[in-house]
């Protein structure tokens, strides 16, 4: 295991649409401060926004954790339920169980998980119904 240089955890509550995106904006600001930029910063920002919004829209609440090692940024989304019954379906573009309320706000395209996977250099998702969902994303950073 590589040594962790930085670790930050952000609590995200279910249903809080009004402050949606604030955590991702924070993460982006923090990474910018430590000299991460360009496309990797963009990819992290998209992935963290999608993860944050899924926690708000679909989960009972959870945490987004940002970790940095000398070679990579690790973003972890972990929630306390409800879990995803069929992961392969959930990973398909266009599949969504978003509520009417979420759809009215422009969510529910079923693109969030595919967007995360596409933007990350490493992606893993585990889920158990009744327990929760954990997503880990790795972004490789070159030494500046």
């Amino acid at each position: 295991m590589e040594s962790t240089i930085l670790k930050n955890t952000y609590e995200i509550n279910a249903g809080e649409f009004q402050t949606a995106g604030d955590v991702s904006a924070n993460i982006k600001r923090k990474l910018k401060q430590i000299g991460i930029g360009g496309t990797v910063l963009r990819r992290i920002a998209v992935a963290s926004y999608e993860a944050e919004l899924n926690l708000i829209i679909h989960s009972h609440g959870g945490k987004l954790t940002l970790e940095m090692t000398p070679s990579s940024i690790i973003l972890t989304s972990a929630d306390v339920g409800p879990g995803i019954p069929d992961l392969s379906k959930a990973m398909q573009e266009g599949y969504s169980t978003a509520s009417e309320e979420a759809r009215d706000l422009g969510f529910g395209a079923g693109m969030g998980l595919p967007n995360m996977k596409r933007n990350a250099d490493g992606f893993s998702i585990e889920s158990e119904v009744g327990k929760g969902t954990t997503i880990q994303m790795r972004f490789d950073v070159k030494d500046a």
Binding site: F17, G21, S24, L105, F107, M111
Partner: protein, 115 residues
């Protein structure tokens, strides 16, 4: 083209007095589904939408867009305008449709986002 020139081109009003209208527009786009916008968003993008809630501003700021264009006369929610002012993101308002705005941008040489 700068944001101020785009305003003139499409006859839009800027709703955000704190916004920087000198930003250069790099590309144009139109979509109301935020995950699609995140998939295609670029720095300097001019984005047409009928979505009016605060997440529109969150997405545009995250992508470092040049401006948000609210089409067909929709008005931003107060929270959206406040966030746009805090983040200095221009919100252009127009009665034109997204299609009309895109036609005008296209004729003026604004390209779609490069992959």
């Amino acid at each position: 083209m700068k944001v101020s020139e785009l305003m003139e081109l499409i006859g839009a009003t800027n709703l955000n007095p704190e916004a920087n209208l000198d930003t250069e527009i790099t590309c144009g786009y139109s979509c109301d589904l935020l995950s699609w916008v995140l998939a295609h968003g670029k720095a300097g993008m001019a984005w047409c939408t009928v979505q009016t809630h605060v997440n529109v501003i969150a997405v545009s700021v995250l992508m470092e867009m040049a401006c948000v264009i609210l089409v067909e006369g929709v008005e931003p929610e107060p929270a959206s305008l406040k966030k746009a002012i805090d983040e200095e993101m221009p919100i252009l308002a127009t009665n034109k449709t997204a299609y009309e705005v895109c036609v005008l941008m296209g004729q003026a040489g604004v390209l779609p986002p490069a992959e």
